[in-house]
Symmetry: C2
Amino acid sequence: MIPGPVKVAPRVLRAMSKPMISHRSAEFGAIYDECRDLLKEFFETENEVVVMTGSGTVGMDAAIAGLVGREEKIVTISNGKFGERFTEIGERYGKAMPIAFDWGTPINLDRVEAALETGAKAVAMVHNETSVGLTNPAKEIGNMTRKHDAIFIVDGISSIGGNQFKTDEWGIDIAITGSQKALAVPPGLAMVSVSSRSEARFLERSASYYADLKAHLKSARKQPTQTPYTPAVPLFFALQEALHMAKEEGFESRRSRTAMQAGAVRAAADALDIKLFPQINEFSPYSNTVTAMKIPEGISDDRLRGGMKKQGVVVSGGQEKLKGKIFRIGTMGVCSSGDILRTIQTLELVLAKEGKLPNRGAGVEAASKVLGV
Amino acid sequence: MIPGPVKVAPRVLRAMSKPMISHRSAEFGAIYDECRDLLKEFFETENEVVVMTGSGTVGMDAAIAGLVGREEKIVTISNGKFGERFTEIGERYGKAMPIAFDWGTPINLDRVEAALETGAKAVAMVHNETSVGLTNPAKEIGNMTRKHDAIFIVDGISSIGGNQFKTDEWGIDIAITGSQKALAVPPGLAMVSVSSRSEARFLERSASYYADLKAHLKSARKQPTQTPYTPAVPLFFALQEALHMAKEEGFESRRSRTAMQAGAVRAAADALDIKLFPQINEFSPYSNTVTAMKIPEGISDDRLRGGMKKQGVVVSGGQEKLKGKIFRIGTMGVCSSGDILRTIQTLELVLAKEGKLPNRGAGVEAASKVLGV
């Protein structure tokens, strides 16, 4: 129940066992074409989508390396670990203008606007900050970015397909996701959508050879469709199968199911007197793909998560400065109501053992109510 | 029968279907540790080996981005398509000094020495030029590179584990291979060995964020062992299983079997009056992992390879300027004597149909003799 890599459905795992095919063949091209088409629906975009072999980070890297020159400014917004990664990448290739907020607190839109007014080619932001369970105001910052004629780059890795994420409506020029999140594919692929507006402003030559969006777009437009370098073929088999599953469920249905499941976790937390970690406001709601909660006083991280693990349920801890302070439950991909209830039940069990359970069964009851089971 | 991605053994395909695990867990760390240890034997090195998620190109990229600064020189040697890639990467990050030879002709060592005398931080070369079926003189250039106190970077992607490749004995500072070649894993992982001598000369900060060897070494030294960004977990399962298989066969036995199989293909070509493409000399022998042959006069590429494909045997054509001029048969990984004989038999069948078979059965007979079957 960690916020990715998530559980993978058996039919997706089985798809990986197909015999290898050449990545320059028409057969591979047809698989890639179908994935690109379905990913457009998944991203809610008319933009082209390419698939890169690598973690989601390779997509974040490609966006900035391809767009931001040594002397160009990029505003990098952060309120958690992954936002900070954008600052690191921005510093690697151009002039990063970091706007940092305390981890888990909402972004102040005025500060972003002020930074944009000093002139920047691009703005980079994480939509769903996995490290703190908060979603950031992509729509509002998208509007602002357009007004200032900058390019908007959004890390949607743990967001797209789980939270609401409207690539085109919100004016997101480059959106990135990873295979191991809402799509429930094993990790190893990054999916990147690219607006023609941003493509027109790409650097003549990307600062990175491997993470080169231009090269990926060029190869994707060849016949047969291909990738510039050898792709992770079995993960493309898995991606195709997972997209079929998501299409069968309905992309919209998957999003509302995910929202309901996160709602169930939050209701259980409330019933068990466990405080949610992030601070929210009207533009920055709780994440629907990962719920971050404070570890109740008097229990150690080790006893809480270690106790749950002994019962077969793995949840995540806090990262870096939040280590030992919070724990996180993911609700992404092909997670079921049963998975949620078992997780809450196990949490109750551990709390009871530690003498910290206020009202036995209240968490499971609250979650069941939301899930309608 | 293409020179990668190669056929994958069923037990390796099955290994990929295991349920996902967290890439920060002790369980993943133990798998990565075992792979790193076995890869040392595979590379014949005492150097550390890291595994990156991406094609072999990400390893080539990481080596140069991490070592060669904007104003630093790198000698890039090429006599085929993949050598030219090193020049492209060298130009992306530093000052490339390309030394190019006609595709498929041996490297002139004097020209390399002359380039080194003008001062260069590194030399990059492809050991086994897959596009032309020729191996390059790594031992000789390794000696030369040491003499001039430069770093020696070798693309061993289609070589290591198939051809003789002595990382330490030949003084190779950074050696790179890909999962989809002699190891017979599906594509998607690059394995890179790094000498402490080269690590000491890494740039303060790699020019690439994703393809960052320093970050990979740092994470590989953590407890549990990990990767800086989310790795393609199922490909690590496959890598572990494939390394077990290679160890069971014996790394040395796999190399001699591969050599014998390439010998069988060459003997068949000779018996069928098909000319081998590359020019060889005492330092540059034919490749044992890919045999490149001229397409016999009077037959088109399409009829030759298309005809074989109809019979279920896929071989590769020429790339770029060699398109339509040569065809290539790979002998890597878990290829069997039966695979070789079936390929030669199919080649004979197509040649016979086109009225171009000088002596029916001679190819299969010559190959069988070499294979001892």
